[in-house]
Protein backbone atom coordinates (compact mmCIF):
# COMPACT_ATOMS: atom_id res chain seq x y z
CA UNK A 1 0.00 0.00 0.00
CA UNK A 2 2.80 2.46 0.82
CA UNK A 3 4.15 1.60 -2.57
CA UNK A 4 1.04 2.82 -4.30
CA UNK A 5 0.57 5.94 -2.22
CA UNK A 6 4.19 7.03 -2.27
CA UNK A 7 4.51 6.03 -5.91
CA UNK A 8 1.57 8.26 -6.69
CA UNK A 9 3.03 11.16 -4.73
CA UNK A 10 6.43 10.73 -6.32
CA UNK A 11 4.85 10.59 -9.78
CA UNK A 12 2.87 13.75 -9.19
CA UNK A 13 5.99 15.55 -7.96
CA UNK A 14 7.67 14.51 -11.19
CA UNK A 15 4.72 15.86 -13.17
CA UNK A 16 5.00 19.14 -11.29
CA UNK A 17 8.73 19.47 -11.76
CA UNK A 18 8.75 18.56 -15.43
CA UNK A 19 5.53 20.00 -16.88
CA UNK A 20 7.01 23.49 -17.10
CA UNK A 21 9.94 22.20 -19.13
CA UNK A 22 7.62 20.21 -21.41
CA UNK A 23 5.29 23.18 -21.88
CA UNK A 24 8.04 25.61 -22.79
CA UNK A 25 9.64 23.12 -25.15
CA UNK A 26 6.32 22.23 -26.76
CA UNK A 27 5.59 25.82 -27.65
CA UNK A 28 8.93 27.39 -28.38
CA UNK A 29 11.00 24.30 -29.21
CA UNK A 30 13.55 25.83 -26.88
CA UNK A 31 14.81 23.32 -24.31
CA UNK A 32 15.07 25.46 -21.19
CA UNK A 33 18.05 23.95 -19.42
CA UNK A 34 17.81 26.70 -16.81
CA UNK A 35 14.67 24.92 -15.59
CA UNK A 36 16.30 23.38 -12.53
CA UNK A 37 17.94 26.61 -11.49
CA UNK A 38 14.59 28.40 -11.51
CA UNK A 39 13.27 25.63 -9.29
CA UNK A 40 15.97 26.32 -6.72
CA UNK A 41 15.94 30.08 -7.20
CA UNK A 42 12.24 30.25 -6.41
CA UNK A 43 12.72 28.17 -3.28
CA UNK A 44 15.61 30.36 -2.19
CA UNK A 45 13.73 33.59 -2.87
CA UNK A 46 10.73 32.35 -0.93
CA UNK A 47 13.03 31.53 1.97
CA UNK A 48 14.60 34.97 1.69
CA UNK A 49 11.29 36.84 1.61
CA UNK A 50 9.95 34.73 4.44
CA UNK A 51 12.92 34.96 6.80
CA UNK A 52 14.87 38.09 5.86
CA UNK A 53 11.93 40.30 4.97
CA UNK A 54 9.35 38.68 7.23
CA UNK A 55 6.70 38.53 4.57
CA UNK A 56 3.61 36.37 5.01
CA UNK A 57 4.26 32.88 3.59
CA UNK A 58 1.66 33.02 0.82
CA UNK A 59 2.84 36.45 -0.29
CA UNK A 60 6.47 35.32 -0.33
CA UNK A 61 5.50 32.38 -2.54
CA UNK A 62 3.47 34.43 -5.00
CA UNK A 63 6.19 37.06 -5.29
CA UNK A 64 8.86 34.42 -5.92
CA UNK A 65 6.70 32.73 -8.56
CA UNK A 66 6.18 36.06 -10.30
CA UNK A 67 9.92 36.70 -10.28
CA UNK A 68 10.62 33.20 -11.62
CA UNK A 69 8.18 33.82 -14.46
CA UNK A 70 9.79 37.14 -15.18
CA UNK A 71 13.29 35.63 -15.19
CA UNK A 72 12.11 32.96 -17.64
CA UNK A 73 10.57 35.53 -19.97
CA UNK A 74 13.64 37.76 -19.86
CA UNK A 75 15.83 34.74 -20.49
CA UNK A 76 13.93 34.08 -23.71
CA UNK A 77 13.35 37.68 -24.78
CA UNK A 78 16.95 38.82 -24.52
CA UNK A 79 19.12 35.74 -24.75
CA UNK A 80 17.54 32.59 -26.17
CA UNK A 81 15.76 34.51 -28.94
CA UNK A 82 19.14 35.18 -30.50
CA UNK A 83 20.06 31.52 -30.81
CA UNK A 84 16.60 30.29 -31.69
CA UNK A 85 16.52 27.38 -34.12
CA UNK A 86 20.02 26.19 -33.21
CA UNK A 87 19.34 23.45 -30.66
CA UNK A 88 22.92 23.04 -29.47
CA UNK A 89 23.33 26.76 -28.87
CA UNK A 90 19.99 26.88 -27.09
CA UNK A 91 21.06 24.12 -24.75
CA UNK A 92 24.47 25.63 -24.09
CA UNK A 93 23.06 29.12 -23.52
CA UNK A 94 20.24 28.06 -21.22
CA UNK A 95 22.34 25.53 -19.34
CA UNK A 96 25.10 28.10 -18.91
CA UNK A 97 22.67 30.58 -17.44
CA UNK A 98 21.13 27.91 -15.25
CA UNK A 99 24.57 26.95 -13.94
CA UNK A 100 25.42 30.59 -13.35
CA UNK A 101 22.28 31.05 -11.28
CA UNK A 102 22.86 27.87 -9.29
CA UNK A 103 26.53 28.45 -8.62
CA UNK A 104 25.81 32.05 -7.70
CA UNK A 105 23.37 30.76 -5.11
CA UNK A 106 26.03 28.37 -3.84
CA UNK A 107 28.47 31.28 -3.63
CA UNK A 108 25.85 33.34 -1.83
CA UNK A 109 25.90 30.69 0.86
CA UNK A 110 23.16 28.29 -0.16
CA UNK A 111 24.35 25.07 1.40
CA UNK A 112 22.30 22.34 2.95
CA UNK A 113 21.03 22.42 6.51
CA UNK A 114 19.99 25.94 7.21
CA UNK A 115 17.72 26.63 4.30
CA UNK A 116 14.32 25.10 4.79
CA UNK A 117 10.79 26.10 3.97
CA UNK A 118 8.08 25.26 6.49
CA UNK A 119 5.33 22.92 5.32
CA UNK A 120 2.08 24.66 4.41
CA UNK A 121 0.18 22.67 7.00
CA UNK A 122 1.98 20.71 9.67
CA UNK A 123 1.02 17.21 10.67
CA UNK A 124 0.01 14.08 8.85
CA UNK A 125 -2.96 11.90 8.22
CA UNK A 126 -3.39 8.20 7.72
CA UNK A 127 -4.38 7.17 4.22
CA UNK A 128 -5.32 3.48 4.17
CA UNK A 129 -3.18 2.92 7.26
CA UNK A 130 -0.18 4.66 5.71
CA UNK A 131 0.86 7.91 7.37
CA UNK A 132 1.15 10.73 4.83
CA UNK A 133 2.01 14.28 5.82
CA UNK A 134 -0.23 17.09 4.69
CA UNK A 135 2.47 18.64 2.51
CA UNK A 136 2.46 15.53 0.30
CA UNK A 137 -1.33 15.65 0.11
CA UNK A 138 -1.03 19.29 -0.99
CA UNK A 139 1.45 18.23 -3.67
CA UNK A 140 -1.08 15.71 -4.98
CA UNK A 141 -3.84 18.29 -5.11
CA UNK A 142 -1.60 20.96 -6.63
CA UNK A 143 -0.38 18.54 -9.28
CA UNK A 144 -3.92 17.66 -10.29
CA UNK A 145 -4.86 21.34 -10.26
CA UNK A 146 -1.91 22.34 -12.46
CA UNK A 147 -2.67 19.63 -15.01
CA UNK A 148 -6.38 20.53 -15.01
CA UNK A 149 -5.60 24.21 -15.33
CA UNK A 150 -3.18 23.62 -18.21
CA UNK A 151 -5.72 21.49 -20.02
CA UNK A 152 -8.43 24.12 -19.78
CA UNK A 153 -5.94 26.86 -20.61
CA UNK A 154 -4.67 25.18 -23.76
CA UNK A 155 -8.10 24.08 -24.98
CA UNK A 156 -10.39 26.96 -24.19
CA UNK A 157 -8.48 30.21 -23.99
CA UNK A 158 -7.25 32.25 -26.90
CA UNK A 159 -3.71 32.50 -25.57
CA UNK A 160 -3.62 28.78 -24.82
CA UNK A 161 -4.89 27.84 -28.26
CA UNK A 162 -2.44 30.20 -29.92
CA UNK A 163 0.39 28.55 -27.99
CA UNK A 164 -0.67 25.18 -29.37
CA UNK A 165 -0.85 26.64 -32.86
CA UNK A 166 2.69 27.95 -32.61
CA UNK A 167 3.88 24.62 -31.22
CA UNK A 168 2.55 22.75 -34.23
CA UNK A 169 3.27 25.06 -37.11
CA UNK A 170 4.92 28.35 -36.42
CA UNK A 171 4.58 29.83 -39.89
CA UNK A 172 0.92 28.99 -40.25
CA UNK A 173 0.32 30.58 -36.85
CA UNK A 174 2.22 33.70 -37.91
CA UNK A 175 -0.04 34.18 -40.91
CA UNK A 176 -3.05 34.02 -38.59
CA UNK A 177 -1.75 36.97 -36.63
CA UNK A 178 -0.13 35.10 -33.74
CA UNK A 179 3.18 36.63 -32.67
CA UNK A 180 5.49 33.65 -32.20
CA UNK A 181 8.08 35.51 -30.16
CA UNK A 182 5.45 36.80 -27.79
CA UNK A 183 3.97 33.32 -27.47
CA UNK A 184 7.37 31.81 -26.72
CA UNK A 185 8.08 34.51 -24.15
CA UNK A 186 4.79 33.72 -22.44
CA UNK A 187 5.50 29.99 -22.59
CA UNK A 188 8.99 30.30 -21.14
CA UNK A 189 7.76 32.59 -18.39
CA UNK A 190 4.92 30.24 -17.64
CA UNK A 191 7.18 27.19 -17.68
CA UNK A 192 9.61 28.91 -15.32
CA UNK A 193 6.84 29.85 -12.92
CA UNK A 194 5.72 26.21 -12.97
CA UNK A 195 9.28 25.12 -12.15
CA UNK A 196 9.16 27.58 -9.26
CA UNK A 197 5.81 26.25 -8.11
CA UNK A 198 7.25 22.74 -8.00
CA UNK A 199 10.09 24.16 -5.92
CA UNK A 200 7.99 25.83 -3.26
CA UNK A 201 5.74 22.79 -3.03
CA UNK A 202 8.57 20.32 -2.67
CA UNK A 203 11.23 22.11 -0.65
CA UNK A 204 9.22 21.86 2.60
CA UNK A 205 9.93 18.11 2.39
CA UNK A 206 13.67 18.64 2.63
CA UNK A 207 16.44 21.20 2.35
CA UNK A 208 16.88 23.77 -0.36
CA UNK A 209 20.07 22.67 -2.05
CA UNK A 210 21.91 23.64 -5.19
CA UNK A 211 22.18 19.98 -6.05
CA UNK A 212 18.40 19.61 -6.33
CA UNK A 213 18.47 22.07 -9.24
CA UNK A 214 20.59 19.71 -11.30
CA UNK A 215 18.49 16.74 -10.24
CA UNK A 216 15.22 18.37 -11.22
CA UNK A 217 16.65 19.23 -14.61
CA UNK A 218 17.67 15.61 -15.18
CA UNK A 219 14.21 14.44 -14.09
CA UNK A 220 12.52 16.94 -16.40
CA UNK A 221 14.67 15.77 -19.32
CA UNK A 222 14.05 12.11 -18.50
CA UNK A 223 10.30 12.67 -18.34
CA UNK A 224 10.22 14.74 -21.55
CA UNK A 225 12.38 12.34 -23.54
CA UNK A 226 10.41 9.36 -22.29
CA UNK A 227 7.03 10.96 -22.94
CA UNK A 228 8.01 12.36 -26.30
CA UNK A 229 9.46 15.86 -26.50
CA UNK A 230 6.75 18.47 -26.54
CA UNK A 231 3.92 16.08 -25.71
CA UNK A 232 2.26 17.06 -22.44
CA UNK A 233 0.14 13.94 -22.20
CA UNK A 234 3.28 11.90 -22.75
CA UNK A 235 5.08 13.84 -20.04
CA UNK A 236 2.35 13.02 -17.54
CA UNK A 237 2.34 9.33 -18.42
CA UNK A 238 6.14 9.20 -18.31
CA UNK A 239 6.11 10.85 -14.88
CA UNK A 240 3.97 8.03 -13.57
CA UNK A 241 6.14 5.40 -15.20
CA UNK A 242 9.37 6.81 -13.84
CA UNK A 243 7.76 7.80 -10.55
CA UNK A 244 6.59 4.29 -9.77
CA UNK A 245 9.78 2.71 -11.08
CA UNK A 246 11.75 4.91 -8.70
CA UNK A 247 9.66 4.04 -5.67
CA UNK A 248 9.84 0.34 -6.48
CA UNK A 249 13.61 0.54 -6.87
CA UNK A 250 13.97 2.51 -3.67
CA UNK A 251 11.84 0.04 -1.74
CA UNK A 252 13.37 -3.17 -3.01
CA UNK A 253 16.91 -2.29 -4.00
CA UNK A 254 18.47 0.82 -2.50
CA UNK A 255 17.43 4.39 -2.05
CA UNK A 256 20.32 5.98 -3.91
CA UNK A 257 19.27 4.21 -7.13
CA UNK A 258 16.29 6.49 -7.73
CA UNK A 259 18.50 8.75 -9.78
CA UNK A 260 19.83 5.89 -11.86
CA UNK A 261 16.27 4.93 -12.77
CA UNK A 262 15.67 8.31 -14.41
CA UNK A 263 18.87 8.15 -16.42
CA UNK A 264 18.30 4.54 -17.37
CA UNK A 265 14.84 5.44 -18.66
CA UNK A 266 16.39 7.92 -21.09
CA UNK A 267 18.73 5.25 -22.39
CA UNK A 268 16.05 2.58 -22.72
CA UNK A 269 13.57 4.88 -24.44
CA UNK A 270 16.20 6.12 -26.86
CA UNK A 271 16.94 2.54 -27.83
CA UNK A 272 13.35 1.31 -28.07
CA UNK A 273 11.43 4.33 -29.31
CA UNK A 274 13.60 7.39 -29.89
CA UNK A 275 10.62 9.67 -30.45
CA UNK A 276 9.30 8.87 -26.96
CA UNK A 277 6.03 7.26 -25.97
CA UNK A 278 3.89 9.97 -27.48
CA UNK A 279 6.36 11.71 -29.73
CA UNK A 280 5.32 11.92 -33.31
CA UNK A 281 6.96 12.16 -36.61
CA UNK A 282 5.43 14.86 -38.72
CA UNK A 283 4.58 12.78 -41.73
CA UNK A 284 0.82 13.16 -41.64
CA UNK A 285 1.08 16.87 -42.19
CA UNK A 286 1.85 16.65 -45.86
CA UNK A 287 -0.85 14.24 -46.81
CA UNK A 288 -2.28 15.14 -50.19
Amino acid sequence: MDLIIYGLINSVSLVLSSIGFALAYGVSRVPNFAHGSLYVLTGYMTWLFLNQYKMPYIFAILLSLAIAGLVGSILYRYILIRVRGMPISEIIASFGIGMAILEMLRWAGLRGGTYMLPPFIRGSIDVAAVPVDYQRIIILIAGAAVVGFLWVFTHYTKTGLSLRGIAQNERAALTLGIDSDKAATVALGFGSALAGLAGVLMFPLGNITVQSGYEVLIFAIAVSVCGGLGSWGGAILASFLIGFAQIITVTYIASHYHFVVALLTIVIILILKPSGLFGRQKELEERV
Binding site: R82, V83, R84, G85, M86, H155, K158, L161, S162, R164, G165, Q168, N169, R171, A172, A173, L174, T175, L176, G177, I178, D179, S180, R280, K282, L284, E285, E286, R287, V288
Partner: protein, 256 residues
Protein backbone atom coordinates in the same frame (compact mmCIF):
# COMPACT_ATOMS: atom_id res chain seq x y z
CA UNK B 1 2.77 56.91 -61.09
CA UNK B 2 -0.55 58.61 -60.74
CA UNK B 3 -2.84 55.81 -59.64
CA UNK B 4 -4.92 56.55 -56.60
CA UNK B 5 -3.65 54.08 -54.04
CA UNK B 6 -6.98 53.81 -52.28
CA UNK B 7 -8.72 52.29 -55.31
CA UNK B 8 -6.63 49.20 -54.86
CA UNK B 9 -6.44 46.70 -52.06
CA UNK B 10 -2.79 46.06 -52.78
CA UNK B 11 -0.30 47.83 -54.99
CA UNK B 12 3.10 46.34 -55.65
CA UNK B 13 5.64 48.48 -57.43
CA UNK B 14 8.91 47.20 -58.83
CA UNK B 15 9.34 44.32 -56.43
CA UNK B 16 12.66 42.47 -56.55
CA UNK B 17 13.59 39.50 -54.39
CA UNK B 18 16.93 37.74 -54.15
CA UNK B 19 17.89 34.51 -52.45
CA UNK B 20 21.58 35.20 -52.02
CA UNK B 21 22.42 36.16 -55.61
CA UNK B 22 19.62 34.26 -57.29
CA UNK B 23 16.84 36.48 -58.55
CA UNK B 24 13.46 35.05 -57.54
CA UNK B 25 11.22 38.00 -58.31
CA UNK B 26 12.24 40.28 -61.11
CA UNK B 27 10.68 43.72 -61.07
CA UNK B 28 7.07 42.72 -60.56
CA UNK B 29 4.33 45.33 -60.32
CA UNK B 30 0.82 44.22 -59.44
CA UNK B 31 -2.41 46.06 -58.94
CA UNK B 32 -4.89 44.10 -56.91
CA UNK B 33 -8.36 45.59 -57.09
CA UNK B 34 -10.55 45.78 -54.03
CA UNK B 35 -13.14 42.99 -53.86
CA UNK B 36 -11.84 41.11 -56.91
CA UNK B 37 -10.26 37.70 -57.41
CA UNK B 38 -6.81 37.92 -58.95
CA UNK B 39 -4.95 34.89 -60.25
CA UNK B 40 -1.18 34.49 -60.37
CA UNK B 41 -0.16 31.64 -62.64
CA UNK B 42 3.12 30.10 -63.53
CA UNK B 43 5.19 26.93 -63.57
CA UNK B 44 7.52 25.76 -60.82
CA UNK B 45 10.20 28.36 -60.10
CA UNK B 46 8.17 31.09 -61.79
CA UNK B 47 8.14 32.98 -58.48
CA UNK B 48 4.57 32.35 -57.34
CA UNK B 49 5.42 31.17 -53.86
CA UNK B 50 8.09 33.80 -53.39
CA UNK B 51 5.52 36.41 -54.35
CA UNK B 52 2.96 35.00 -51.92
CA UNK B 53 5.59 34.90 -49.17
CA UNK B 54 6.50 38.49 -49.87
CA UNK B 55 2.89 39.64 -49.75
CA UNK B 56 2.08 37.70 -46.57
CA UNK B 57 5.32 38.76 -44.94
CA UNK B 58 6.51 35.21 -44.34
CA UNK B 59 9.64 36.21 -46.23
CA UNK B 60 10.64 38.40 -43.27
CA UNK B 61 10.43 35.41 -40.97
CA UNK B 62 12.43 33.31 -43.43
CA UNK B 63 15.06 36.01 -43.77
CA UNK B 64 15.30 36.39 -40.00
CA UNK B 65 15.78 32.65 -39.45
CA UNK B 66 18.31 32.35 -42.26
CA UNK B 67 20.24 35.28 -40.89
CA UNK B 68 20.35 33.74 -37.43
CA UNK B 69 21.64 30.49 -38.83
CA UNK B 70 24.16 32.31 -40.98
CA UNK B 71 22.42 30.84 -44.01
CA UNK B 72 21.13 32.32 -47.22
CA UNK B 73 20.83 36.08 -47.41
CA UNK B 74 17.34 37.08 -48.53
CA UNK B 75 16.93 40.64 -49.75
CA UNK B 76 14.10 42.54 -51.35
CA UNK B 77 13.43 45.95 -52.80
CA UNK B 78 10.33 47.73 -53.95
CA UNK B 79 7.14 49.15 -52.65
CA UNK B 80 4.09 47.33 -51.34
CA UNK B 81 1.07 49.43 -50.47
CA UNK B 82 -1.83 47.88 -48.63
CA UNK B 83 -4.71 50.35 -48.57
CA UNK B 84 -2.18 53.11 -49.08
CA UNK B 85 0.22 52.01 -46.33
CA UNK B 86 3.68 50.72 -47.16
CA UNK B 87 3.96 47.28 -45.55
CA UNK B 88 7.09 45.92 -47.20
CA UNK B 89 8.96 45.63 -43.88
CA UNK B 90 6.03 44.69 -41.66
CA UNK B 91 6.28 41.23 -39.99
CA UNK B 92 3.65 38.63 -40.95
CA UNK B 93 1.62 38.66 -37.72
CA UNK B 94 1.23 42.43 -38.01
CA UNK B 95 0.12 42.10 -41.63
CA UNK B 96 -2.47 39.56 -40.49
CA UNK B 97 -3.68 42.18 -38.05
CA UNK B 98 -4.18 44.57 -40.98
CA UNK B 99 -6.15 41.86 -42.76
CA UNK B 100 -3.64 40.13 -45.02
CA UNK B 101 -4.08 36.43 -44.31
CA UNK B 102 -2.29 33.61 -46.10
CA UNK B 103 -3.68 30.15 -46.63
CA UNK B 104 -0.32 28.51 -47.14
CA UNK B 105 0.86 26.11 -49.79
CA UNK B 106 0.35 22.45 -48.84
CA UNK B 107 -2.28 23.52 -46.29
CA UNK B 108 -0.04 23.57 -43.17
CA UNK B 109 -2.93 22.76 -40.88
CA UNK B 110 -2.36 22.08 -37.18
CA UNK B 111 -2.40 18.33 -37.65
CA UNK B 112 -2.46 17.32 -33.98
CA UNK B 113 -5.44 19.49 -33.12
CA UNK B 114 -9.05 18.78 -33.96
CA UNK B 115 -10.82 20.45 -36.87
CA UNK B 116 -12.71 22.76 -34.54
CA UNK B 117 -9.53 23.66 -32.65
CA UNK B 118 -7.84 24.53 -35.92
CA UNK B 119 -10.62 26.97 -36.66
CA UNK B 120 -10.51 28.36 -33.12
CA UNK B 121 -6.76 28.92 -33.33
CA UNK B 122 -7.51 30.69 -36.60
CA UNK B 123 -9.89 33.03 -34.80
CA UNK B 124 -7.07 34.50 -32.70
CA UNK B 125 -7.67 37.97 -34.10
CA UNK B 126 -11.47 37.81 -34.13
CA UNK B 127 -13.80 38.89 -31.36
CA UNK B 128 -16.43 36.48 -30.12
CA UNK B 129 -19.29 37.63 -32.35
CA UNK B 130 -17.03 37.55 -35.43
CA UNK B 131 -15.85 34.08 -34.41
CA UNK B 132 -19.39 32.76 -34.16
CA UNK B 133 -20.48 34.37 -37.39
CA UNK B 134 -17.46 33.18 -39.38
CA UNK B 135 -17.69 29.68 -37.92
CA UNK B 136 -21.26 29.43 -39.17
CA UNK B 137 -20.16 30.72 -42.57
CA UNK B 138 -17.30 28.21 -42.81
CA UNK B 139 -19.57 25.31 -41.92
CA UNK B 140 -22.12 26.52 -44.44
CA UNK B 141 -19.41 26.77 -47.08
CA UNK B 142 -17.90 23.38 -46.25
CA UNK B 143 -20.64 21.22 -44.69
CA UNK B 144 -18.19 18.29 -44.83
CA UNK B 145 -16.31 19.82 -41.92
CA UNK B 146 -19.30 19.78 -39.57
CA UNK B 147 -19.26 16.05 -38.99
CA UNK B 148 -15.46 16.02 -38.84
CA UNK B 149 -15.46 18.72 -36.14
CA UNK B 150 -13.80 16.61 -33.49
CA UNK B 151 -11.57 14.60 -35.80
CA UNK B 152 -7.82 15.12 -35.56
CA UNK B 153 -6.92 17.29 -38.54
CA UNK B 154 -3.94 15.18 -39.58
CA UNK B 155 -6.30 12.32 -40.44
CA UNK B 156 -8.35 14.35 -42.92
CA UNK B 157 -8.07 13.73 -46.65
CA UNK B 158 -6.25 16.22 -48.83
CA UNK B 159 -9.44 17.91 -49.99
CA UNK B 160 -10.81 18.17 -46.47
CA UNK B 161 -7.51 19.57 -45.25
CA UNK B 162 -7.66 22.24 -47.93
CA UNK B 163 -11.20 23.15 -46.89
CA UNK B 164 -10.01 23.35 -43.30
CA UNK B 165 -7.02 25.52 -44.20
CA UNK B 166 -9.26 27.85 -46.19
CA UNK B 167 -11.78 28.00 -43.35
CA UNK B 168 -9.03 28.64 -40.84
CA UNK B 169 -7.77 31.57 -42.88
CA UNK B 170 -11.31 32.98 -43.03
CA UNK B 171 -11.52 32.82 -39.24
CA UNK B 172 -8.71 35.37 -39.07
CA UNK B 173 -11.09 37.96 -40.60
CA UNK B 174 -9.09 38.66 -43.76
CA UNK B 175 -9.56 41.69 -45.96
CA UNK B 176 -7.08 40.31 -48.45
CA UNK B 177 -6.98 36.52 -48.61
CA UNK B 178 -3.96 34.85 -50.18
CA UNK B 179 -4.48 31.30 -51.40
CA UNK B 180 -1.17 29.67 -52.29
CA UNK B 181 -1.80 26.73 -54.62
CA UNK B 182 -5.15 25.76 -53.08
CA UNK B 183 -5.84 23.07 -55.67
CA UNK B 184 -2.52 21.26 -55.31
CA UNK B 185 -2.95 17.53 -55.63
CA UNK B 186 -6.74 17.47 -55.64
CA UNK B 187 -9.04 15.36 -57.78
CA UNK B 188 -10.84 17.27 -60.56
CA UNK B 189 -14.22 17.08 -58.81
CA UNK B 190 -12.75 18.44 -55.57
CA UNK B 191 -10.96 21.12 -57.59
CA UNK B 192 -14.28 22.31 -58.92
CA UNK B 193 -15.88 22.16 -55.51
CA UNK B 194 -13.13 24.33 -54.06
CA UNK B 195 -13.00 26.88 -56.83
CA UNK B 196 -16.74 27.32 -56.47
CA UNK B 197 -16.28 27.79 -52.73
CA UNK B 198 -13.60 30.41 -53.37
CA UNK B 199 -16.00 32.24 -55.63
CA UNK B 200 -18.69 32.04 -52.93
CA UNK B 201 -16.34 33.51 -50.35
CA UNK B 202 -15.66 36.45 -52.63
CA UNK B 203 -19.35 36.95 -53.46
CA UNK B 204 -20.69 36.70 -49.93
CA UNK B 205 -18.04 38.57 -48.03
CA UNK B 206 -16.45 40.81 -50.65
CA UNK B 207 -12.98 39.71 -49.50
CA UNK B 208 -10.26 40.49 -52.02
CA UNK B 209 -8.55 37.25 -53.05
CA UNK B 210 -5.24 36.43 -54.68
CA UNK B 211 -4.81 32.83 -55.87
CA UNK B 212 -1.59 31.33 -57.12
CA UNK B 213 -1.73 28.12 -59.09
CA UNK B 214 0.28 26.21 -61.66
CA UNK B 215 -2.58 24.84 -63.58
CA UNK B 216 -4.94 27.64 -64.51
CA UNK B 217 -7.85 25.84 -66.14
CA UNK B 218 -10.14 25.30 -63.12
CA UNK B 219 -9.58 28.86 -61.97
CA UNK B 220 -10.04 30.84 -65.19
CA UNK B 221 -13.83 30.90 -64.82
CA UNK B 222 -13.71 32.47 -61.37
CA UNK B 223 -10.90 35.03 -61.60
CA UNK B 224 -11.44 38.66 -62.55
CA UNK B 225 -7.87 39.40 -63.50
CA UNK B 226 -4.78 37.30 -63.98
CA UNK B 227 -1.00 37.55 -64.16
CA UNK B 228 1.26 35.03 -65.82
CA UNK B 229 4.70 34.70 -64.27
CA UNK B 230 7.80 33.27 -65.84
CA UNK B 231 11.28 33.26 -64.32
CA UNK B 232 10.21 35.70 -61.64
CA UNK B 233 8.69 38.29 -63.96
CA UNK B 234 5.22 39.08 -65.27
CA UNK B 235 5.04 38.00 -68.92
CA UNK B 236 1.37 38.66 -69.49
CA UNK B 237 -1.63 40.08 -67.69
CA UNK B 238 -5.26 40.69 -68.39
CA UNK B 239 -8.84 39.94 -67.53
CA UNK B 240 -9.77 36.31 -67.48
CA UNK B 241 -11.38 36.66 -70.91
CA UNK B 242 -8.33 38.32 -72.43
CA UNK B 243 -6.13 35.55 -71.09
CA UNK B 244 -8.44 32.81 -72.24
CA UNK B 245 -8.57 34.19 -75.75
CA UNK B 246 -4.82 34.42 -76.03
CA UNK B 247 -3.39 31.52 -78.05
CA UNK B 248 -0.05 31.60 -76.19
CA UNK B 249 -1.83 31.22 -72.89
CA UNK B 250 -3.88 28.35 -74.19
CA UNK B 251 -0.72 26.63 -75.35
CA UNK B 252 1.17 27.19 -72.12
CA UNK B 253 -1.48 26.78 -69.46
CA UNK B 254 -4.20 24.61 -70.90
CA UNK B 255 -1.95 21.93 -72.23
CA UNK B 256 -3.50 21.89 -75.65
Amino acid sequence: MSVKTTDYSLLINNLMLFYENALAINNISLKIEEGKITGVFGANSAGKSSLMHTISGIILDMAKKEKMKGGERITWFGEMLFKGEDIINLPPHKRARLGIVLCPERRQIFSESSVLENLMIGSYLANSSQTKETLDFVFELFPELVKLKNREAGFLSGGEQQMLATGRALMAQPKLLLLDEPLLGLAPSVEQRLSRAIQDINKHTGITIIISEQYARPLFPIIDYGYLLENGGVVMEGTSKELMDNPDVIGAYFGI
